[in-house]
Homo-oligomer: 212 residues x 2
DNA sequence: TGTACATCAGTGAACGCGCGTTCACTGATGTAC
DNA sequence: TGTACATCAGTGAACGCGCGTTCACTGATGTAC
């Protein structure tokens, strides 16, 4: 890639990063302006048009990028789980929240825009979530816990429960950090880990006793 | 109430109704303007200030009103369920979706603003959801299916799963109506009712086999 | 009941501001010979 | 390698627009006597 192309890519990425940052600092994507983004990056407003036709197009690119990062991250998470299949539920939950803490903006953006954004945005996010559900369902079908589930529809439904609940878990978790600090935060987090563990155990109890 | 007070109340309610309508027609509360609301009602922009200090205050009032309506509606739903406790899961789900269809804007507003709104809005909605979770947990404790659950914490965790999943169900359901029409819509709805039924049965399978 | 004054929901003009978008430009980087 | 021209990311001025908010106002309704 030429020097010019490289610099252009950097600017483009800076615009995307700024948009993600501004969209997850107490406001939503649809309330931030083109000028705010360029201001954050240190470019003149008109430079925006060298990279995106308008804010909608930047939004599309952002969803794609965020989804891709989340999918990769969850893939790593699932591989970690499969290689220690018999670890405690709590440990798995802790790994999940550690992953959430590692890229909080990605989670916040996808979840806030899932129902909050425009119809287009929602459609694109729905598709990405469908991929996550399918990924997880595939993992399930390879796991010993699910050997007795014959219907692949049932597997997808179970996967869907977990994916949807995990969004609530992630956002509740991230909200704690904005409401509490220090020891109080740790206490709430600890307590929440236990609550989520109970939820997961309950689900797996249901799965263990499932017959189609 | 005097004639003047009555008319003032009507205008105030008209502003709230317009705000709810505009917030749920493809955009979110934070993207609609004071002027749009008064235009929708047929008032001059400055008249707004006779009723609310600013948009934030109107938002608070709207959350309160929407939450109250949803709580009443869910109360009716739960009473209906308790009086036909041994009806099929599918029938209960159908009643739920009928309720969603009866006040779609209330559901859309609360769910979209749950993670999409400002920090204040989110805090207020969290509290309202906590009330819903507690209501449902109380119902559980009176139900035969939950006699063996000793811990009230466990009851609340189970209730919390159901409340959180129900939000996803409601929004997914309402999204169908924007994407499909006629027979195709009915087919998707039918299919989704079955998927949700599977989810609920799975949860209750877990609950039935629960030991603390 | 009638009158004189007070209240106050709604009006309409005016303001300054940040917005998205246009346009002609600049000057560093790329390309052809 | 050196030169002459092309490309194009970023600039800066300018625009019209909808916004929230102020202010003095109007006229119907309420209240005191």
């Amino acid at each position: 890639m030429s020097i010019r192309d490289e610099r252009k890519q950097q600017s483009r990425q800076a615009l995307l990063d700024a948009a993600l940052k501004l969209s997850t600092s107490g406001r939503s994507f649809s309330t931030i302006s083109l000028r705010e983004i360029t201001r954050e990056v240190g470019l003149v407003p008109t430079a925006f048009y060298r990279h995106f036709e308008d804010m909608d197009k930047l939004g599309e690119a952002l969803i794609e990028q965020v989804s891709e990062r989340l999918r990769q991250m969850i893939l790593t998470l699932r591989q970690g789980y499969l290689s220690h299949e018999h670890s405690k539920t709590q440990t798995s939950i802790q790994f999940f929240f550690r992953a959430v803490d590692e890229s909080p903006q990605d989670w916040m953006f996808l979840i806030a825009e899932r129902w909050g954004g425009s119809t287009t945005v929602r459609g694109e996010i729905s598709q990405e979530i469908e991929l996550l559900v399918q990924d997880l369902a595939n993992d399930f079908s390879a796991s010993a816990d699910f050997k007795h589930i014959k219907s692949s529809d049932d597997l997808r439904v179970m996967s869907s429960i977990l994916v949807n609940l995990s969004f609530t878990w992630a956002m509740t978790w991230l909200d704690f950090a904005t409401q509490y600090t220090g020891g109080e935060l740790v206490d709430w987090q600890q307590q929440y880990i236990e609550q989520v563990s109970t939820q997961v155990r309950l689900l797996f109890r249901g799965i263990a006793n499932w017959q189609s």
